[in-house]
Structures are given as structure tokens and as C-alpha cells.
Amino acid sequence: MDFLLDIKTAMLPEAIITFTILVCTVLCFMLKQEKQKIIYLISLLGLIISLTSINLLAANKIFTGFYNSFTSDFFSILMRFLILSGTLLVIIMTKDYSSKFKNRQGEFYLLMLIAALGALLLSGANDLIMIFVALEALSLSSYALSGFLKKDKSSNEAALKYLIFGGASSAIMLYGFSFLYGITGHTNLTEIFTYLANNNTDTMLNFTFFLIIAGFLFKVAAFPFQSWAPDVYEGAPVPVTAFLSTVSKVAGFAILIKFIGLAFNNVEIITVTLGLIALLSITIGNFMALNQMNIKRLMAYSSISQAGFVLIGFALLSYSGISGAIFYLISYLVASLGAWLAIIIFNTQTNKSLISDLNGIAYRNPYFATCFAFCLLSLAGIPVTVGFMAKFYLFHAIVQEGPAYLWLLILALLNTILSLFYYLKIIKAMFVCKQENESFKLNFDAGILNTSLVALTLVVVLLGVLVTPFIEIARDSALSIKLPVKQVGLSR
């Protein structure tokens, strides 16, 4: 019974999510439309059980199972924790929003859980076939989710654009996979890296590397593949947008890290190219965000630039860079989930999504506005919040690499200042601008949505103050990915 043992030691969260999916599928067919609200509770329950089961996985040793196609190390456990808690919050977000789905509520949670399963498998995948299947499980259900409001023209259009871009980029990624398979003769990543370390490979590998990261850059919405993000984020239902900008990004980065190991035969070219991709995503995201009126669109451009910051950590090709990237990813996830929660509370109750609609909301809902403002300040990187510490740690990693990366540091710092403008624009609308014609008051009581918004804001501040243990977690998880990376600036 090797198979069951593998599941017990490495894939317990995935197994529980799979079981929940099966239960939800049956219930979707059995229950009447008006009783499908129970699927919401069941999916929440499944996610919570799966989150607690992460504790049972052995964090300190690397486990490979399923014919070496799945690895469970500390890094993948951390990523699975982030993915599961992100999905949990996204599902909580749909509590009031789901009335818009009319009589298809059950399917929404089903698709959301399948997407989460794909993301979970992606974070531990160690075989090209596994990576492809997991990535498509995530992508296909995201396509369906972003078009979930069938009668809504913009939701349709978002799904169509997402599908076309996604199909093309996954085909490019597969073209890269096929060359990687052709060069090495293996589909298992461990065997591929062993082969590459012992054999002198040609320049074809660089070409392959760029083909492969195309698929992952699409998932994280970084520079050459960012154009889908604003359209899809604007058109898709708000919980789905939150899912795409948090969970799906974490999964994309989790798999991108494993392929960084491919870069080590030609360090110079790949460092410079990844650095340029990172800088261009940051700059394009910031400049486009400056004159956006729609909050969802603004957050889309902001998420493009945040993805660029994570990519800077990868471009350094060192353990300190990668641990900086992981910590930045954690901080981005927390702050951006908080911001999306605030947006969804506002959007569900007022059905509006322009920045000017937020005018003067701080006078009527001071707690709501403060929580939203803290999340935005964390995304901008202002001290006391976790975003500042993440940026500080990332820039510290760049400095450690020496003067060769000075250009990266200076341009990233300039962009940080630039990004303040548009985050402060929202804060200014909430705190300074006078309210216009109609005045409405958000219902900000002790409901689950508002409680989680306050909790996330507390996490944003607490992580910014008590930062040391989390930086250590990021460093340990970076070290647990056995990459052929240079060991610069890591006191261990």
C-alpha cells in the first residue's frame, strides 16, 4: 500500500480537498437550488480541516512520492499553507456576494476548490507532466470562474480573453517543456537537474528556459504577459479577481522558483533578463495605475507591479534573494487579501467600484476606512506595516549581491515612491474628499467579512512589528528547495 502511505505522509491536504470536491459534486446534483448555500459551509469546513492537516506533515524532511512526481518539503508546505488560507478567505468573501450567482452557487464553490487543488499540486509538483496537469487544473477552473456571471457582458469577455491568453501561453510553455525533455531525456525535475549538472549543455537551454517561464509569467501577470490582467480583473466577479491576484499568483511563483535552477549554466544572461522583466513589470504596472478610476483596474496594475518586486528576488539567483521573494510574497498575500476584502465589502453593499465612490467614507465608516488604508499602505511599503519590512528585506538582499545590481536597487526604489501616488489616491478619497450627493453608510458590524478584514489588518501590522520569525520561516523554506544556487550572504 505504498500509494496510501504516500498520501498520508505527503499529500494529506490535497486528499482532503479532493474528498471535499467529491462531496460537493454529489451535493450539487442532489440539492435543490435554494438549499445550495450549504455547499458554502461544506467547502469552508473542508478547507479548515485541510489547513489543520498541514500540521501532520513532516516539515523538517524532504519527502518524494508518487514515482517522484511530488515533493513535500518545507517550501511546498509553506506554499500550501498560503494557498489554503488564501482560498479560505476568498470563499469567506463570497458569503454575501453569492446571491449574484442566482441558482448556480454550488458550482462556484466546486470550481473554486478544483482551482485550489490545482494550486496545491503545483506547489509540490516535481515532474513536467504533473506541473502541466496541475497548472491546467488551476487555469481551466479559473477560466470558468471568471466567466461565472453568464448574463454579464464584461464577465463573458473577461473569460474569453483569459482563455485565449492562457491557452497561448501554456502552449508556449509546453513547447519549452518538449525541448527540455528533448535535451535531457527526462520529465522528472530531479533527474533533469542531475543530468544538467553532469553534462555540458548548449545554448538551446537558454531558449528553453525563456519558453518555459512564459507560462509562469502569464500566471503571475508579469511583464510580457501582463496585458490580460487588467481586463480580466475588471470583468470577473470580485471574489474570483481576489483569487486570481492572490492564490493563483502564489502558485505561479511556487513553480517558477523550481525552474530558476535551470538558469545556472548561463547566469549572466538570465539574471539580466529576469531583472529587466521584473523592472518593466514594476514600471508598467505603476505608470498604468496612476490614472485609473476603477478600483479593480487599479488593483490589477498594482498587482502587476507587486509581481515585479517578487521577480527581483528571483533575478538575484541566490538564496537570500529567493528568501526575500518568499517573504515579499507572504506580505503581498496578506495585504492584498485585506484590500480585496475591503473592496468586496464595499462592492457588495453599494454595487459601485470607482475610486470617487469611496469619497468621504472615513467620516461614516472610520474602522472600515482605517483597515483598508493599512492594507494599501502595506502594499505601498510604508513603515509599521509588513510591506515595508518585505521591501526592506528584498532591497537588503540586492545590496548583499554587490554593486553589479545597483541599477536594480535604484530603479526599484524610485518605483516604490511612484507607487505611493496611486495608493494614496484611494486613501485621500476616503479620508480627505468630501462626500458627494448621496450619503450611504456601510453595514460594518461583527459579521464574518468584517471580522476577517480587521483580523487581516492586525496581521499586516503585527507582521510588520514582529518580523524576525517570519523572515526565518522564509529563509528556511528557501533553503529547503535544493537548488544549485550560489550561497551568497546567508549566515547559516
Partner: protein
């Protein structure tokens, strides 16, 4: 002249370019979906060729090609379903008509 690996690779490169060109220039959404299918099938040929010339024992490339076929079918089915939903709202399958999401 005997058929070698290089010939297959050239065929795949040509097919891939046709697919990308189709994605860029076609306005009909069904044509765009067909172009995606061409891209994925070009990759299939690449995998089968590599498996045939380098990895006869395990033929992992052929296994990969079967996975790609299954998932490509799912993707196109989903794409057509989304297209039908779009068509019900707008009565057009011309990509130029889908411009409501712009800043």
C-alpha cells in the same frame, strides 16, 4: 534522404509559427481557438519525435502527448462553452466587437 529528428523539429517550428500567426491575425474567435489547437498539436509532434529518437525505453514523451491531447480537448470544450455564452449576449464572434473592457 532519411527522415531524421531535425525534420520533425522543423515541421514543429513551422506549425508553431502558423499557430502564433493565426492567433495574431485572425478576427474570428473560432479561428483563434483552432490556432491554439494547432499550437498544442505542434508540441505533441515535438514530444513524440523526441521520444522516438531519444527515449525509446520509457517513451515518456508519448505519455506526455496523450496528457496534452486530453487537456487540450477540455480546454477547447471550455473555450467553445464560453464563446456560446458570449454569443448569447452580443451575437458576434468577431474579436473586434469584444472591447467593452478598456480603460
Amino acid at each position: 534522404m532519411e527522415l531524421g529528428l531535425v525534420h520533425y523539429l522543423i515541421l514543429v517550428a513551422i506549425l508553431f509559427c502558423i499557430g502564433i500567426l493565426g492567433l495574431i491575425i485572425s478576427r474570428n474567435i473560432v479561428k483563434i481557438l483552432i490556432s491554439i489547437e494547432i499550437l498544442l498539436n505542434a508540441v505533441n509532434i515535438n514530444f513524440a519525435a523526441f521520444a522516438n529518437f531519444g527515449d525509446l525505453d520509457e517513451a515518456k514523451g508519448q505519455v506526455f502527448a496523450i496528457f496534452i491531447m486530453a487537456i487540450a480537448a477540455a480546454e477547447i470544450a471550455l473555450g467553445l462553452a464560453i464563446l456560446i455564452a458570449c454569443y448569447n449576449n452580443r451575437h458576434s464572434i468577431d474579436i473586434e466587437d469584444y472591447t467593452s473592457l478598456k480603460s
